[in-house]
Every structure is written in C-alpha cells, then in structure tokens.
Symmetry: none
Subunit: 204 residues, 4 copies
DNA sequence: GGATAAGCGAGACGGTACGTCCTGTCTTCAC
DNA sequence: GTGAAGACAGGACGTACCGTCTCGCTTATCC
C-alpha cells in the first residue's frame, strides 16, 4: 500500500490554521452545518482547499478541532480550570449550581451550533463519534464522577453506587432534552433532576 | 409567493410508496445514511425521482415515514399493542423487563441504522427533529409516564414526583449511552439504572 | 406488432383543436420555440396532454398544423387566392412586386417565429422537413414556376431554361439571407436579385 | 449583477478540450443532434460535466467550436489554403469546379450532421446564428466574392454587379436544396446554376 | 332512453437530461 | 515544500419535460 508521506507539521502555517478554525465556526453558526462546505471554509479563510485536506480528513474533523480550540481559548481567558464541579460539602447544591451554569451556556448559539453539528455527525460516523465523546464529553463527565466519589467519601452517596452511572441520572436527561428538544430546559428542571437523582422516586 | 399545487393524494401509487419505503430502509442499512441518496432510492425502488420529491421534501423525510411505516407493520404483525409497559404491581421489575427488551432491540441493525440517522438529522434540522420526537419518541415516553402515574396511585412513587421527569432518569441515560456510545449498554446496566432512579443515590 | 387503434376522428373536439393551435402559435411567438413545451401548450389550451399526443406526434407536428391552419384562415379572410404571382406581361415587374410583398411579410413576428422554428426542425428531422417543404414551401415555389413557364410561352424567358431551377436564382438568396441572417433584406435587394437573375452577371 | 469569475484559460486542459470535440462530433454523427446531450458528451470524453459548462454555454456552442476545429485540422493536413476558388481565367469553369467539389463534400456524413445541426440551431438562436455565419459561412462566401471581383476586372462580369449579391445566385440555391431538401443536388445542377447566373434567364 | 364506449381534462408515473454545487485530487506558481 | 488558487473527474442535487398511463366526467351514438 502506498501511503502519502505525512506532511511536515513543523512547517505548518499557524496563520492558516487559525483562519480555518474561525471560518469553520463562523460558517456553522451563520449558515448551519449542512450548508457549511469545505470550499466555503477555504474561501472564507483565504486558504486553498488543499491546505484543509492536508491536515484534516473531513469538515466534521475541522469543526471538531476548531471547537476544541475554542474551548481551550475560552479556558485560557477564564484563567484556566474553567469547568469543574465545586465542592462546598453540599452535594445537591454543588450539582445544581453547575447544572444551572450549563443550562445557561447551552443557549449560546456560538456554542450550540457546532456542538449540535458534531453530536449529530458523531451519531452516524462512529469514528468521529468516539473522538467527540473522548475529547469533549468524557472530560466533562469525569468532573461529575470525581465529585460523586468525593461525596461517597463524605457519606453523602451510598458507597455501592457506581459514580459513572450515577451521574447519568441528571446529566443524560438534560442532554437529551436539549439535543433532541424533547422538552424545554430550565434551572427549575435541573434542580428537580438533582433532587430526584439523589433521593429517588420511591417514597422514603 | 408561488405555491405549487398540492398533488392529488387519492391518485397516489401505493405500489411506489411501498417500494420507496423498502428501498430507503434497505439502503440505509446496507450503505449507511450519508451514502444513501435520493437518486439511489429512486433507482432501487424503480421509481422516478420526481415521485419522491412530489411526496417528500428530503431523504430524511422519506426515511422518517418509512421507519414509521415499518413500526406500524411490525405492530400489526405482533397483533397490536406492540410497545407497552406491563403492570404486574412490581414497578422496578416491570421497568427492568421493558428496558431489557429495549436493549435487545437496540442492537438490531434494521432498527439501529435508520433510528441513528433520523436522530442525527433531527439534532441539526429542528423541524425534522420535532417531527421525530413527536412521532417516534414521545409515544414511547408516554408509556413510561403512564406506568409511573399508576405507580403513584399505588403508592410506589412519591406523589409529588413529575412522571415526565422521573422517567428520564432511566430512559435518557440508556438513550445517551446507545446514541453517543459513551459506554456500553447491557441488562445489568439498565437494571442498575432502575434501582438508582427509584431509590436515589443518597443513603436511605 | 400491436398497433394502437387509430382514434375516431369524427368524435374529435374541434374546440380543443383550435385552442391547441392558438396556444402553440402564441407560445412560440411569446416564448420562442425551444421554451415552448407540449405541457405548456396543453396548459394554455386548457387541454389534457393526452389530447395532444392522441392527434400529433411531436410539438413540431402540432406547430406545423397550427401554422398551416393559420395560413388557411388568412387565405379565407383575404377572399381566397392569397398568394399568387400576377401576370401583367412584364415578368420583371411581376416578380419584383411579389418579392417586395414577401419581404414585408417576413418581418411579421407572428409569421417569423413559427416559420423559423419549423424550418430549423426540418433541417435536422428529415421526415418533418419533407412535410414542411411539401406543404409550405413547394406550393409557393410552384407559383413562381408557373409564372416562369408563362414567360417562356411569351418569349421573355429562354425556352431551354428549367423554371424550377430558374426561380431559385431569386427565391433562394432571399430565403438564405432571411433565415440565416447572412445579410439584411430590402425591396432594393430583391429588385436587384430579379434583375441579375433575368439578365445574368456576364456582360451582354 | 453577480458575475462569475472567468476561468483561467492558461490552465485549461487541452487533453479534455480535444476529447470533448471528438466526442461531440462523433455523437452528432452517430446519434443525431437532438439525441446528443451534454451529459453524453462528457461521459464519452471521460470528462466532468462542469468542465464543459466551464468553457461553453451550450451543446450548440461546443459543437460549433468542435466543427471549426475540425475544419482547421483538415486545413492543416491539406497544407493550408484549403478552400479557395481557382482563377484559370474561365469564370464559369472555375465556379463549376468549386461547386462540384462542394456537392461532393456535402454528402459526407462527418460534415453533414454537424453542419445541419448548427445551421438549424442558428435559425432559432440568433446569437449562435450570427456566430455560425461569421465563422463558417462568411469566409466561404468571401472567396466567391473575390473571384467575382477578379472577373469584373477581367471584364467577364458587368462592372455594376454587386459581387456579394451575384454570388448568391448560385450559392443560395445549392444551400437551400441541400439544407431544406427541396430537390436533389448534382454536378449537373450546379453547372446549370452557374450558366443561368452568368447569362440570365432572359433571351440574349 | 339506457347502455356503452370514446374523447376529454387532469395529472401521477418512470424516465432522461438539465445546469449547479460540492467533493477530494491534482497541478501550477509564488514565497 | 507549504500554501493560495483553481481546474479537473465524478456524482448528487432538485427541476423541467417527455411520453404513457389511469382516473372520472362528459357526450354521442347504437341497441
């Protein structure tokens, strides 16, 4: 099998890379993902198409990296340690606070458009989906898992509970409502989710 | 605004309609959604492209109807009352049984391929997403809501719990794991979900 | 071979026939021949497509009959004997008079559009071309041939001249200039043609 | 008005251009002009449709250039100076010789099919018609005009005759007979045309 | 005068081609 | 040897018509 010689990353134009990120994100927000094309990104970035195909394998791939970069930039600006679940000792309050912030973030179109696009692409394209989960989803979920483990140590969560499953009780419902638009989301809603998740549906 | 005169549905060819359904589903299963084209569906169904565009607005629209039709056919064969949540009096057991069956179903490629494709398309195309939810998701969720309400009447679920939210505690995690492949699914997993959802994470 | 039973002409709707003629001619004048479609003719005539296909084999066929009908109508109005070459005894004067009238007629768009369309179609479609020539061209040329024969009898044309060829010396140049737009046409031009044709190019 | 940026002709693929010419001419000869499609030309030439639409505006336009190129090639092979009217001093003989050669050429299907198609298209599409006349017809007619002017200098044609009109007396009849199939053509016919044209129809 | 069969308006159908858009590759030239 | 530029082969898009067909509805004999 004849393999293309890998391009020399050390000579890569950072100027072009950034321009492509910006163009990709802007187009997805302005035009929507399906109407965003590699050609359009190249034109807007003032870049040849080949420069995109040399470094990425598809427009989804470009968008994924662009979106990750956006997150890193935001993190850098916010003084690092951007997303984390606080630990005030009150588990319910901590979770509610973080989920409320998440709800607020989910409505920002600069965030929503690329996220939806990547999530959608990942549903159908398994390879991209795994990358999307590993790089974007998993890190977030880990923060909740860590907090739950701390709560277990403090006795606020039963010791036999699997934190990786436990967190899904409040995270997945929010994710589904938002992504699939099965119902509206709100602070009240996420508060309720936390309460149900911690204390269950059955009478005590 | 120039409006196309609506086609006369009474003169519609049922033969073609069925052939299109079958072709669309088969192609999505065999080739994958992105490689499925309107042209391909038309060719496989032995139909003119215009016949597709006359009755549907996009390949996603075709697939949605085809999939709904598939469900109806399956229901008819199964002697109606296809999907329902049983009520043996034991809420946990009933939910676990249904979710186990669901897990089994989710791996059938005849089901998985179109469902993923429609879900993905619905994430990005709001109009289609709402139709997808209303016609495919909501009816299923209703069954759980009904069962939870019955459980409330029987005292097995706290009366102040909102069933529409409560059901999400076990349904959404399964949905997310399967759709986004965040983690594997199994009978053990859904059993655990039901337990956590009913009795909470906090110690009793 | 299974042959379609010929339609019963006695039950044919004259109303539809006339409406189709009018629609065809109007569309060719207004939209041009290539943009005139069978569907468009049917719609404008308030007629089903099948009614056209029942009686004609192509849009060119429709247009040919429509144009012939137009000619007959014009003839009927003009009190029959519409086109003819007069015989005042002065051959040159007679030919010039008729050709001048022809030049005037050739600029009428109601005449020009269908004629050009039919001529063009006839160049490529031999069958239609022969019909076009037989029904539209030949009758006109015959009038000239007859006049030339009369002139031979009167001694104004050499007896050994073949009238069918002789007439082409002034008719064909006008036809070519007009059809192919090789040069402008005018009364002066046709007068000159007649002079050259009768007396030749070589010095006397 | 939004104008497409003109494509860069210096980077044009000559390989494709020639393949398109050949495919277009072959298809017109083999299938006939109406059954020749842009798609068919592209397929036969092993070329994308866009490559055709990038450089030409219609199939007629392609064919016109292809035919002109064919002429140039033939000229190049024949050692340049392909078509000309000889001047032996005997005007009648010279004209007869050229017209006889023309008659022979008109029956070659490699010539006839594209020529008819272009002529037909030119009758209806004025822009194409003017190009057809300017590039294909006019140069040929000029040769006759030149020969007639030489004959005037030699006293073989009356000095007051307009050569541009005079040549039509024998050229246009042949053109019309061939194009419109009003009557068969032959060497005898063109000989007669020359005689009539030079010496007129009226007795001397 | 009631049956029956044809022409008719309408338009859905299987197809073909259109002209456009975009993909991913390749080539050219500038830096 | 990367990058901007963009031509290229390919292929799907959604539209426009083709010529055939089927559907009810009129209409016009013919029994």
């Amino acid at each position: 099998m004849v393999k293309k010689p890998a391009p020399d990353a050390t000579r890569r134009s950072q100027r072009s890379r950034r321009a492509i990120y910006e163009a990709a994100l802007a187009l997805v927000v302005e035009e929507g993902y399906p109407r965003t094309t590699v050609e359009g990104i190249a034109a807007r970035a003032g870049v040849g198409k080949q420069t995109i195909y040399r470094w990425w394998s598809s427009k989804a791939d470009v968008l994924l990296e662009a979106f990750l970069d956006l997150g890193e930039q935001a993190a850098r600006q916010a003084g690092y340690e951007p997303y984390s679940v606080p630990d005030t000792g009150d588990l319910a309050a901590d979770l509610k606070a973080v989920l409320r912030a998440t709800v607020d973030e989910l409505v920002d179109p600069r965030f929503e458009a690329p996220w939806r696009a990547l999530a959608a692409e990942g549903l159908v394209d398994e390879q991209l989906g795994r990358e999307f989960v590993a790089k974007l989803l998993e890190p977030q979920l880990d923060l909740y898992a860590r907090r739950l483990r701390a709560a277990q140590a403090a006795g606020a969560v039963r010791p036999d509970v699997d934190p990786r499953i436990g967190l899904e009780l409040f995270v997945s419902p929010l994710a589904q409502r938002w992504l699939q638009r099965t119902a509206p989301i709100s602070h009240a809603y996420t508060d309720t989710l936390v309460d149900y998740a911690l204390y269950g549906l059955a009478p005590r």
